[in-house]
Structures are given as structure tokens and as C-alpha cells.
């Protein structure tokens, strides 16, 4: 290194520095440790990637690691698995269904929560604080607790003996899943957005009010644009959560092939013991494509969203 920072000069002067050899050795140990952990973490993923491109005969007759013995033998490669999975096993359909579930299941809770968070922060009404605490308190309810009553509500079309406004039967429709995910995601969303929206400077809202803007206009024109970072982190958290969810889809969407989402399709394919083993890696990769894309393109928001999600029950 040609330039030295004051800190380094200070450090080398006043401490009994380990010899250069020792320091390089330390670095070297650190690097080896990191590489070992990274390789361990990558092995399963690499196995999946390799397997997904191998011919079915090879997948069934030998381990994927034999690829490393002859990586340039092009005869072992094929795109057939992907084609079969997308076309014949209905994964193209399932991918679309997942989109139909995940986009509204992300947008609806954010919209509902943002409106509520705005009211909790900037509007005067009776019981504002108590209601907010009650909403946050619902964070502790695990979704397992809501499954049984909700399923009954959906299938019976009754709520405490009174007919519900839901089109009947709602179970097995996209809306059933959207509303369920909205309910399960709302406490966290309200909590996070209220913290964010509540911390915006009151002067901008007051000056907008003086200019004659209604609450609705202030919300749309001012609050939403200013809250993009908070909205984005929750959106990513919720998106991943819904995309990767199996349980809620299994319970409320039902398993018929025309509506099933991608996690269901994958779980089903895995359940068919051995029969479609050669298709599993490709199928799994298709199911991971979108989350991975989101991961790589929005990494910053992604991490923040997941950390924020640490209080979800």
C-alpha cells in the first residue's frame, strides 16, 4: 500500500505489531474460513443448478457431482427438463397463478395499511391510540390460529350466523387468498408504515392543509411519494412471503391444477415419489427465479424489508 492512513501509522508505532508473516497468515486463515463456509452454502444450490440441466437418464443413474469429472461433455446437457416442467407439468400456469396471487396480495395490504397509518399519524379521532395498540397487538397471532375459523367462514358463507358479503363460496378463489394474506400482513404493515409516516415533518402536512389540500390529496400527492423507502421494504418482505408461502395457498386456494400456485405445484411434484425426480431441479429453479431476481436487483430494500419483518408473529 502506498498511502497510509493516520490510524495505521498510529497502530504500527504504539503496539507490539505481530510480524508481517503472522499478519498475512491471519488474513489467509480468515479467507480460507470464509471460502469454506461459502462453498458449504453453495454446494446444495450448485447441485440443483447442475441437475436441472442434466438429461433424465443421468439424473437417475449417477450423482450430479460426477459432472465435475467431465464438465465439457456436452451430451449430458439438456433444456428438456425446463420445457417439460413448464409445458406438461403445468408450471407455466402455476407461475401465472402465483403472479395473480402475489401482486394483489402485496398491493392490497400496503394500500390499506398506508391509509390507516396516515390516519393514525395525522388525523384526529376518538380512540386513535388504543386502536393502534390493538392493531400492533395482533402481531402475536400466528396465522395457524386463523386457518380453521377462516376456512369455515369461507366455506359456510356465514359470520356469527349472519350471511357474509362474500360471494359464495369464496374458497378456492384468488380473492380468498388475497384477503387472507392482507389480514396476516396488515399488523406488521400498519406498524412499520405508521412509524415511518408518523416521523415525517409535520410542517409539510400543515402547509399543505393551509393551501387547502384535503387529507386524500395530501396522502396521494405528499405522503405516498415520501414513503417510498418504507413502502418498498414492506412490499419486498410481503412479496417474498406470499410467493414462498405454501400453507395459505394450500388451505384457501385448494389444490386443483388450474388455480394452484408454484409452491403447491412443486410440493405436489415432489410428493409423486420418484416418478418425476428428474424434473424436480428444473421445477425448483423456475419457482426460485422471480425471488432471486428481486433479490439481486433490490438487495438494499430486500435486506431492510427482512429486518423489519423480525416482529411478525
Amino acid at each position: 500500500m502506498t498511502t497510509t492512513t493516520p490510524k495505521e501509522v498510529f497502530g504500527t508505532e504504539s503496539t507490539p505489531t505481530p510480524s508481517l508473516v503472522r499478519r498475512i497468515f491471519d488474513r489467509w486463515q480468515v479467507k480460507v474460513a470464509i471460502i469454506v463456509i461459502c462453498v458449504l452454502w453453495l454446494i446444495p444450490a450448485i447441485g440443483l443448478l447442475i441437475s436441472s440441466f442434466r438429461t433424465s437418464a443421468l439424473i437417475e443413474s449417477e450423482g450430479w457431482w460426477t459432472f465435475f469429472a467431465r464438465p465439457f461433455d456436452t451430451a449430458q446437457w439438456t433444456f428438456d427438463n425446463y420445457a417439460t416442467v413448464l409445458d406438461q407439468r403445468g408450471f407455466g400456469n402455476a407461475f401465472l397463478n402465483s403472479l395473480a396471487v402475489v401482486i394483489p396480495s402485496t398491493v392490497i395490504p400496503i394500500t390499506v395499511a398506508a391509509f390507516a397509518a396516515y390516519a393514525f399519524s395525522w388525523m384526529e379521532f376518538k380512540g386513535r391510540y388504543i386502536l393502534f395498540v390493538a392493531v400492533v397487538g395482533l402481531l402475536v397471532v400466528p396465522l395457524q390460529m386463523a386457518l380453521i375459523p377462516l376456512l369455515r367462514l369461507y366455506t359456510s358463507g356465514e359470520f356469527f350466523g349472519v350471511a357474509t358479503p362474500f360471494p359464495h363460496p369464496i374458497n378456492g378463489t384468488y380473492m380468498a387468498v388475497w384477503l387472507a394474506h392482507t389480514g396476516f400482513g396488515l399488523p406488521l404493515a400498519v406498524y412499520l408504515l405508521r412509524n415511518y409516516i408518523g416521523s415525517l415533518p409535520s410542517s409539510i402536512i400543515e402547509s399543505a392543509q393551509i393551501d387547502g389540500a384535503t387529507h386524500f390529496q395530501i396522502f396521494i400527492r405528499l405522503i405516498v411519494p415520501l414513503s417510498v423507502p418504507a413502502l418498498a421494504s414492506f412490499a419486498i418482505f410481503q412479496f417474498l412471503w406470499v410467493w414462498n408461502d405454501l400453507l395459505v395457498a394450500l388451505v384457501f386456494l385448494g389444490g386443483t391444477p388450474d388455480v394452484q400456485v408454484i409452491t403447491q405445484a412443486l410440493a405436489e411434484l415432489k410428493g409423486q415419489y420418484g416418478q418425476f425426480e428428474h424434473l424436480l431441479p428444473a421445477a425448483a429453479f423456475i419457482s426460485m427465479a422471480l425471488p432471486l431476481l428481486v433479490f439481486f436487483s433490490l438487495q438494499r430494500y430486500f435486506v431492510r424489508g427482512l429486518t423489519a419483518g423480525s416482529v411478525k408473529g
Binding site: G11, V140, L266
Partner: protein, 381 residues
């Protein structure tokens, strides 16, 4: 007359909107306002409803259905708010400002009441009832939960999960965060690799690990673990039916997925430890290992606690891994998986509900720690 003055004249000449009208006209206008206040939300609701009905029964191309569904879901929610605000604006002035907050919070409160509050209460009630959820059976279901062999195994396994997974995930994540902090280059790449499994679904992870744990009765072994095992001269083993080690193998999947979460949060905490404290310790002759145990770890302890509790909650609810990998067989039951089993496969609502309540009771204290901690952090920020 200047342009401006003429404009003034024009404005002055126009009569104020409602003044000078006959009472009949005023009544008509009021009625119109009243009617549109109701009509717009109702029409919006009916449109949405009809589309839902169509979506349910339609036989159209999947892509078209999906497109319509997305459009309705996304635009519909906004349309509802807009329509409600429209209605409020047409109300008499003195009501407007007291009604408006409820337009904003109302939907959230309604959804939460129907989808969380009511089900939570209902589940507690049903947990005291029989298989059909009709007859009252007292504490029988709870007696069952703590006496059935499968449930006892599930509780035992869940406790093991709660101890093992957070311990390893947090330890490895912490160790990795410390090491990676010392790197000059490649920190971001190394972190991404560890963090990557967080983006993957439990089902996807199960498929990934299937390639490791796979067992074949005949022919070459295609699972990596058996590949290594047989290379060292062992006989192929059906790992996932090998009690009690199969539980450990399932936990490895969860550790693989959760370590990245611990690592990212702990790494941020480590970076926020002030440099001068570390420097001071080093000048005093502390080795790097001493610096870690005596300085770094104590200053990030609260973050370690949060990460651990969060992971405990995640682990308590683990369902998919077990469901997909072993289906809860060969002694791999866990609580969340048993709940689904009793409710859906064995059709016993009461028992399923009782298990859900147990899960809830286990989560509450952990959650309380987390929320309090989160609030303290927010207060500092």
C-alpha cells in the same frame, strides 16, 4: 378595462353556487348529492363483485384471467378508497371531518377484525370443542395434546428445533459476520452467498436438500451424502428415515436458510461498534479474539437477542420443510405440522385448534421481548 379587471367582473357576475335558488332546486341538489354519495361506492362495489364472480367461473385463457385478477385486485382497492372519499366529500360539512378518519382506518380495522381477531377468538373457543367443532368437551383436547405419542414427539422435536437451529444459525452467522468484516474485497459477494437461501421458499429448499439426502435402494446413489458415505465404504443409508438423526438433517435445511438473516443483521451491528473502542483495546494489547469476546460481543448483545428470538418464532412455525421432506413420518413431527395434520387429514377441529392455541401461547412471550426491543430501537432512532 385591463384584462385583469375584466376577469374580475366576470367572476363577480357569476352567482354564488347555491344562493338565490328556489327551495325545490336546493332540495333536488341535496338529494343528488346524497344519492351520489351512496351510489358511487355502491357502483364501485358491484363492479368489483361482478368481476370476482366472473373470475371464479370464467373459462377464459389463464393469462387473461390472471391479468384481469391483478388489475382488479390492484385497482379495486384504490377505487374503493377513492369512492369512499368521494362519498364523504358530498356529506354535510359538519359531518365530514369526523367521518373522514374512519374512511382511512375503517377498512384496516374491518379486515383485521375478520381475518385475525375473530379467528383468534374462535380458535380458542373451538379448542374446547369436539372433532366437528360443535359439542363442548372441556379440556379434553389439551389433555390429548399432552398425552398423544405423536404430539409428545412433536413437542420434543420442536424444543430441539428451537435450541439447535437458532444456536447454529446465530453462531455461524455471527462468526461469518466477524470474519467478513476483516476482508478488504469481496465482502458483498460473500454475504450475498450466505444470504441467498433467504429468498428461496421452504419447498424449494426441500427440493435442493433432497439432492443431498437422497437414497436409492438399487443402483448408484444420487444423493451427495450417500455419495460421500459410500465412497468411504459405508452402506447406503436412508437418511430421512433414520431416527432421531433425520430431525437433525431437517434442521440443517432451516439453518442453511436462516443463517443469512442472522449474518446480515449482526454484520450491521458489528459495523456500528465505534472504531475508537476497538482501537483502544488493541493498543492495550488485546488479541483479536479477546477484542471479539470482551468488546464486540457485549456491545452487540441486544441485537444477538433479537435475532435469536426472531429465529425462535420462525422455527416454532416451521411447517413446510417437514411437510415436504418427511410428511411428519419417522418421528419427525413438529407442532405446526401436527396442527395441519389434525385439522385437515384427521378432520378433528378441536384438536387442531388446541394445537394452534399452544403455538400461540409459545409465541406470545417471545414476541413481547421482540416488540419491546423494536420499540426501544425506534425510540433511539
Amino acid at each position: 378595462m385591463s384584462e385583469r379587471e375584466r376577469l374580475h367582473e366576470v367572476v363577480k357576475e357569476r352567482p354564488p353556487p347555491e344562493d338565490g335558488q328556489t327551495p325545490v332546486a336546493r332540495l333536488g341538489l341535496g338529494l343528488l348529492r346524497f344519492f351520489s354519495a351512496f351510489a358511487v361506492p355502491v357502483v364501485a362495489f358491484i363492479i368489483l363483485w361482478l368481476t370476482f364472480e366472473w373470475l371464479r367461473d370464467a373459462d377464459a385463457n389463464r393469462a387473461v384471467i390472471v391479468l384481469v385478477a391483478v388489475a382488479v385486485g390492484v385497482l379495486g382497492v384504490f377505487l374503493l378508497y377513492w369512492a369512499m372519499d368521494f362519498a364523504v366529500n358530498r356529506m354535510p360539512e359538519r359531518w365530514r371531518e369526523s367521518v373522514r378518519p374512519w374512511v382511512f382506518v375503517g377498512p384496516a380495522l374491518v379486515i383485521l377484525s375478520i381475518f385475525l381477531l375473530y379467528p383468534a377468538i374462535n380458535t380458542i373457543v373451538v379448542s374446547f370443542r369436539d372433532a366437528t367443532g360443535e359439542g363442548f368437551v372441556g379440556l379434553e383436547n389439551y389433555g390429548f395434546v399432552f398425552s398423544d405419542d405423536g404430539m409428545l414427539r412433536a413437542i420434543r422435536n420442536t424444543v430441539a428445533w428451537i435450541i439447535v437451529v437458532p444456536f447454529f444459525a446465530v453462531s455461524i452467522g455471527l462468526g461469518f459476520a466477524v470474519l467478513v468484516d476483516k476482508l478488504q474485497r469481496g465482502e458483498a459477494v460473500a454475504k450475498s452467498i450466505i444470504f441467498l437461501p433467504m429468498a428461496v421458499s421452504f419447498v424449494g429448499a426441500s427440493v435442493v436438500w433432497g439432492l443431498i439426502y437422497d437414497f436409492k435402494v438399487f443402483g448408484a446413489q444420487t444423493g451427495l451424502l450417500n455419495g460421500i458415505w459410500t465412497a468411504f465404504g459405508g452402506d447406503p443409508v436412508s437418511w430421512l428415515s433414520k431416527e432421531p438423526w433425520n430431525n437433525l438433517l431437517l434442521m440443517v435445511i432451516m439453518i442453511w436458510m436462516q443463517t443469512g438473516f442472522a449474518m446480515v443483521i449482526l454484520s450491521a451491528a458489528i459495523k456500528s461498534v465505534p472504531d475508537d473502542i476497538l482501537e483502544a483495546a488493541r493498543i492495550d494489547g488485546a488479541t483479536e479474539i479477546q477484542v471479539f469476546w470482551r468488546v464486540v460481543l457485549p456491545s452487540i448483545m441486544s441485537t444477538v437477542v433479537v435475532v435469536t428470538t426472531t429465529m425462535v418464532i420462525n422455527v416454532l412455525k416451521v411447517f413446510d420443510i417437514v411437510f415436504v421432506m418427511t410428511n411428519g413420518e419417522s418421528g419427525t413431527e413438529v407442532i405446526a405440522e401436527q396442527m395441519i395434520r389434525w385439522f385437515f387429514r384427521n378432520d378433528h377441529d378441536g384438536r387442531g385448534a388446541a394445537i394452534a392455541v399452544i403455538l400461540f401461547l409459545a409465541i406470545v412471550p417471545v414476541m413481547a421481548v421482540n416488540v419491546r426491543r423494536f420499540r426501544a430501537e425506534e425510540a433511539i432512532r
